[in-house]
Amino acid sequence: MDNVTRSEQSRLKAIKAAHAILTRDGVGALTFDALAAESGLSKGGLLHQFATKEELLNALLEHRQQFITETVSGYNADAQTAVPEPLLHGHLAALQGLSGGEHKAVNLALLAALVQAPELLHQVSADHVESLAQIRDEAVDADLASLRWLAASGLLFMDLLGWVPLSEEDGKALFDRLNDTAAWHPAKDL
């Protein structure tokens, strides 16, 4: 195994350990000591990999963005998903993915960065600008498409902040509704 692969593997291991800490102990608990204990990697090795807390948080944010990008392009590559607004649906699929199960931890990066390194959020903001420009561009009704994306984002925020936890059942019903093209463009309006 070459060094690049080894380094990439320990990076992923560290990211997974960070997700476990964020989920179990909250955003305040993410320290290099906790990360070393959780991942089984040495603190020196971790500092070599990330150098600072900001770099670690940035790696978590990049991991989150990668999940979104891959879900969106995966959705669009799937020939069976012939919908009028494929990018909106791809983003809804990504947000639904982040709303529950193992990927919920991936989304906690946003909360951690918000509290500990808000300056890192410029990149997230830039990604949002790019995504929404594309979503609005392909949309039948740009504002309505934006509101569907915002509703999904709002559901995630409410869950992330612990204010209105999204149950699996509610999450499924609400995302089904967001994905239902006919429900947002009633036939009589066309």
Partner: protein, 194 residues
């Protein structure tokens, strides 16, 4: 002449306002009793007499903001035409909009401070969850009400956190559409009986 109680209430408000100034200017990490006392022109002892712990201070800030937003919502409802019964959700959307537009409320710093105060956070969550229940109760389509409410919070929180992709004009237009029940009514589907 102001009663002792009224004076005490005035001091509480002055402390909360000073704390909001510190939060907005210096961020959540710099919110200390010393900094708040300096800003309010009071002794540290006077501040801790009113708010013995940081948790108490945060709860004081949240109560003050809840009161401010309630007043904003009531003003808004009063300006609505009286022929149509104002919907609860329309007032909620107006409140979310005020949260974004009110430069006096350092919402982002308050959220950062809140994340370190689980109890205050929980109280806020209860208020927000009950607003969802009310918004759902006034409609035939609770899921759509949930999504409309969530879109309002999505737009509000993304803006407050500096994550919104929308220009000011776009944001205004989206808040207008969120607040306009005539646009939402055609999308309503009566809830299926479970």
């Amino acid at each position: 002449m102001a009663t002792r109680q009224a004076r005490s209430e005035q001091t509480r408000r002055a402390i909360v306002k000073a704390a909001l100034v510190v939060l907005g200017r210096d961020g959540a990490a710099r919110l200390t009793f010393g900094a708040v006392a300096r800003e309010a022109g009071l002794s540290k002892g006077a501040v801790t007499r009113h708010f013995p712990s940081k948790k108490d201070l945060l709860q004081g800030i949240l109560a003050f903001r809840a009161e401010t937003f309630r007043a904003l919502r009531n003003d808004f409802v009063a300006t609505q035409p009286s022929d149509a019964a104002p919907q609860f959700i329309v007032g909620q959307i107006a409140m979310m909009r005020a949260m974004v537009e009110n430069a006096q409320s350092p919402a982002r710093a308050i959220f950062s401070a809140l994340l370190d105060a689980p109890e205050a956070m929980q109280e806020m969550g209860q208020r927000i969850a009950s607003s969802l229940v009310k918004a759902q109760a006034e409609t035939v389509d609770p899921d759509l009400a949930h999504l409309r409410w969530a879109a309002g919070w999505g737009l509000g929180l993304l803006s407050v956190f500096g994550l919104s992709p929308f220009s000011e004009d776009e944001r205004n237009q989206l808040f207008n559409k969120l607040g306009n029940s005539d646009l939402w009514r055609p999308l309503e589907k009566p809830a299926e009986t479970k």
